[in-house]
């Protein structure tokens, strides 16, 4: 009798020992959201840290860059039917990180307003998956049934104990099958990246939809100037309705590249001011027709490049003044050419999640507006094993060599700019590349 009691305790202990550590893995974690924002005269990076619990705090870091005027901004988190939460963040003279905390009280689609800029984001709800439920439920049922079987056995009815014993075998089989097969079950369409997020689908993400193709129609871009601000109007190419489903890709909603008539480049990240309306300030613009190109990604997949041009009235030309040692190995059309920038010191910061960006516009004959090729090449940060999140701008430990590889599709003269970040300031290095039809052009 004593012996059966001891065995019972040992078995129960073993089962609970299996279940307990597994529970800790149940919480699904999202990732930090990095969004670059050209907000008035400031170039900010807004980092919405992963939400650990709901209701709970959302930590928001606002990163200012060199030349950003000091002042105060207001962070506001709002969602339909939820209480609004605000925080004020005082930005200092020094470029760097400034933090604020807002609160969210439910999972679902939220909007973070940074002054007049609005950033839609999804607060994930912690919902256990059906296979997690099967695993934990199976092990718990097995434990309970085992206890019942032992009670029958101890009370002298071994025949009756066979029934719950069979139940133990069945429950363990269910749990083990669910646990073993769970890695190979395809993920459901994610609200926010594939589906339009609603409170219902965020809080019940395991509802399968019949949709298999999530891609959406192309977008029409209409730029215009409103005072100093460049305003972009985005409309759906099939319905004409405003496009309000842009994803954060490469740390921005829109990567807007503006090339002035004199060949000076600006890489801006317009803020969302209304559904389908984005805005960025062009500081001290030049007079003339500017070539613009916007890279966007719609919910459902695929990145699009929208090109256009806009007439700007202004006076001053602000040339790109970055310098770097450049080693160019330009091969013939269609073969990979390499351009390596040497920035001198190993203190580069990730900008938009990358070590460096190279914008290629050409071949230029009568200005950048009519250039047939427009490319955005990345130099990537090698992934660090064990770190799922991208390093933020506080890590100034990359470089000094920034390599790019690009196959120029047409011969001729290209305008090229290389952009990296150092000391919270974006360095833009302009250069010109001549691509031959045959053979290798030297340095």
């Amino acid at each position: 009798m004593k012996r059966s009691g001891a065995i019972l305790l040992l078995v129960l202990g073993a089962i609970l020992g299996i279940v307990a550590p597994a529970l800790a893995d149940g919480a699904q974690a999202g990732a930090d959201i990095h969004v670059a924002q050209t907000l008035g005269d400031r170039d900010l990076t807004v980092i919405i840290r992963r939400v650990a619990e709901v209701p709970g705090p959302v930590h928001v870091d606002v990163v200012t860059h060199a030349g950003s005027p000091p002042g105060e901004i207001t962070l506001t988190a709002r969602a339909a039917g939820a209480a609004t939460s605000s925080a004020k963040v005082v930005l200092g003279d020094k470029a760097g990180f400034y933090s604020g905390v807002v609160r969210v009280d439910r999972g679902g689609p939220w909007e973070l307003a940074v002054d007049e800029a609005t950033i839609p984001f999804v607060v994930p709800a912690l919902v256990p998956s059906p296979w997690e439920n099967a695993t934990y439920g199976g092990f718990i049922a097995a434990g309970v049934l085992l206890f019942v079987a032992l009670l029958f056995a101890v009370s002298g009815r071994p025949g009756l104990a066979l029934v719950p014993t069979a139940g133990v075998v069945a429950a363990v089989a269910v749990a083990a099958t669910a646990a073993l097969l769970s890695p190979s079950i395809p993920p459901v369409a994610a609200p926010g990246t594939q589906l339009d997020p609603t409170f219902d689908n965020v809080n019940d993400p395991y509802q399968r939809t019949s949709t298999v193709d999530f891609s959406r129609p192309p977008v029409n871009l209409v730029p215009s100037m409103r005072g100093e601000d460049l305003v972009l109007s985005l409309t759906d190419g099939s319905s004409g309705r405003p496009v309000d489903d842009l994803l954060v890709h490469d740390s921005a909603f829109i990567h807007l590249v503006v090339v002035s008539p004199a060949g000076n480049l600006r890489h801006l990240h317009p803020i969302r001011t209304a559904p389908g309306e984005y805005r960025a300030r062009l500081q001290a613009p030049e007079q003339g027709t500017h070539a613009i190109a916007a890279e966007i990604a719609r919910r459902g997949g695929g990145v699009q490049l929208l090109r256009s041009s806009v007439d700007v009235s202004g006076v001053a030309a602000k040339p790109n003044d970055g310098t770097a040692g450049l080693v160019k190995e330009i091969r013939e059309v269609g073969r990979p050419s390499t351009i390596t920038a040497d920035l001198g010191k190993r203190d580069l910061q990730p900008w938009l999640g990358m070590l460096g960006h190279m914008i290629v516009v050409g071949p230029v004959t009568d200005g950048p507006v009519n250039a047939p090729i427009w490319a955005h090449v990345h130099s990537m940060i090698p992934p660090t094993p064990g770190l799922p999140d991208q390093p933020d701008e506080s890590v100034a430990a990359y470089g000094p060599k920034v390599p790019f590889t690009y196959s120029f599709p047409l011969p001729g003269k290209y305008l090229v700019w290389i952009q990296v970040e150092r000391d919270y300031s974006v360095v833009t290095v302009p250069t010109v590349v001549e691509v031959p039809v045959k053979g290798v052009a030297g340095k």
Binding site: L180, E329, R331, R335, P336, T338, H378, M380, P382, P383, P403, T405, Y406, S407
Partner: protein, 129 residues
Amino acid sequence: MKRYVLGALAGVIAITGALVVLWPRTVEAQPHLAESAQLRFVLTPASTKSGVNAFDLRITDREGNPAPGDEVVVEPAMPQMGHAIAPLTAGPLEPGHYRVGDVGLFMAGQWEITVSLSAERVVIPLLLT
């Protein structure tokens, strides 16, 4: 006694079966074959893990004779990330046999390795884990 032996045997079979089914497998570095109009390229990577890799290349004509040529060019790219790395060139160790070392394939996923010898080009897919 006989029953215990049978029981132990059944246990051993069950455990062996479970190990065979559940043992983690690594992808073997297989030779990859691709043919262009004139030539046959066989690329064998040193590893199927991301990181610094090396390629062993055997290039022959359709009859199996070593292909003439003095420089092979290897252009690795990762279409999913929209990213290419600098091309590498190598001279022959012996006719038709090349070795391209120090290939920095730092990211796991599907790579496309373009290999060219004079005017012949092939694209070889390579999955890294």
